[in-house]
Amino acid sequence: MEAATGATQSGLEREAKQRGKQINVGRNERTASMIGGAALAVTGLTKLAGKKILPGMALMAAGGMFLYRGKTGHCDVFEAMGVDTAGTEDKGLTVEKVLTINRTPQEVYEFWHNFENIPRFMRHLEAVRTTGGRTSHWKARGPAGVSVEWDAEILEDYPGQRISWQSLGNADIPNEGTVEFMEAPGGRGTEVKVHLTYRPPGGTAGKLAAKVAHGINAQVIEEDMKRLKQIMETGETATAAYTGSRTYH
């Protein structure tokens, strides 16, 4: 991970880096952290001066933590939550996800093997059309109605165990994927492991493709896999959407 560009590297920041603590707080947040932290620390001091020992100490501690976070670009709380707000330019994406589905490996394999099912759980895909025994045509959507398309072919196909595929020719977003289905212990169904690689978009279509690629990240893929599980186990995808319509009175 790169240091936030343009930020002056302070002694504390260097020290934090040396200790292996990575910068995971974005630049704006670091500034806000430092201002907020300083304010808290000062309030704490004021309280201490007013003999409010306990609240004063607590405020000082809080202020100190935010100051540290702003100065070093590292936040332990963020680290604990696995949140990275430093931001990355699109350098492509490799993501691997594992989850357990309460269905047999054969059932999950069959659902996936019909590639036309994939857009039901992968939200960045608009449609996948089977075009031959091993070939298919994929259409991905991005913001504001932007979309890119490519052809793909199956490389490996072991029924009930494993499927891998890759995009063909000069796809706008060159990509490849593998999905494995393993029987989970204790009658818990199937452990599904998916491995996807999206290479950086290039060429003349690069800008358009980059917009689409920007919407694909590890979080999105994780939620896609959850939807696969929901469809396989419950027959529908969970939603709390609130779209009122008719009245029941």
Binding site: L54, A62, N102, E233, T234, A240, T243, G244, S245, Y248
Partner: protein, 397 residues
Amino acid sequence: MKAVCWHGKHHVQVDTVPDPQILNPRDAIVKVTLSGICGSDLHLYNGKVPTMKEGDILGHEFMGVVVETGSAITSLSRGDRVIVPFPIACGDCWYCQEGLWALCDNSNPNSWMLEKLYGDTGAGIYGYSHLYGGYAGGQAEFVRVPFADTGLEKVPPELSDEKVLFLTDILPTGYQAAENCHIQKGDTVAVWGCGPVGLLAMKCAWQLGAGKVFAIDRFPERLEMARMHCKAEPLNYEEVDITEALHDMTGGRGPDSCIDAVGMEAQGTGLEAAYDTVKQTLRLENDRPIALRQLIKACRKGGTVSIPGVYSGFVDKMPMGAVFAKGLTIRAGQTHVQKYLRPLMRLIETGAIDSSFLITHRLSLNDAPMGYELFDRKQDGCVKIVLRPQGVSQTVH
């Protein structure tokens, strides 16, 4: 329709919002006839639970009549009177099939948030923040109920709404809390918190074979309810040192099991309480575990600490040394309501358990904001408020 909506800390109001609609084949729409305000709703009211958004509809303790069903629903039809369990659960995942309904893998569309915080997700819950799925709640005229073909319980016509409403949450919660204690015949059980869950846990402890039950609180009227309705020995923590008192009253052993029916907003006395309040206010600590620390200290060696009270995040100064040294068992978690509906419905039918004594206030939906204020401040002897979305307030205790 009208619904009780969250608008920020200490600010709920009745808004007119669109009626819900069927979104999935396994959905149903329920017209709410009775809806409780839960003690855990006060955590939302007090702004202690993150990811609430302005306009979110509150309420997870509700029952009503089915008015519409999705295309996949065959077990219910229009006009059925039903109990709706507060955890939304699919019935198909491994957890549901093991009876761990509140840990359903599939019902929380925001599961990634809880995974980041806790390592894994729990079931979605009606009206209980976006961490728990962002579902619209049941303090409203109508509610969309997902997975309506599993877990909903039809109500026999001879039982009134008030007799069965608490099957949605607090009665099974009290029962699970007592069941988690693995009570042996004659055991002593101490319950911290004489709110509705605590009181029902006491009743269930007797049902499961307890020989003595202690009730701990600071409100005299609640302690009196514990004594009168739940045959418990009341202890006021503002008057006695609880650990010492329990020690002395159990021959120096301590209670065999202790139930924390208080949770993350425990009140306390002295420096310890001030410490936690400050840390919680500054968000350096999410929860104030004052009751929990007492439970751990008071519990007998090898005993069980059962936690139905809600905790949301990190606590400070957890006496892990005592947990270890005394070999305590800790059991916690949301209630697997669906698992308990049938057996508890039977206990209600035979009259073995009646939880309707808890109701102190019956209000219309419009009076809900006043209800929240009363309940939060424990004014007017308020123990349990039920809302009648189709009716009017009644000032009878």
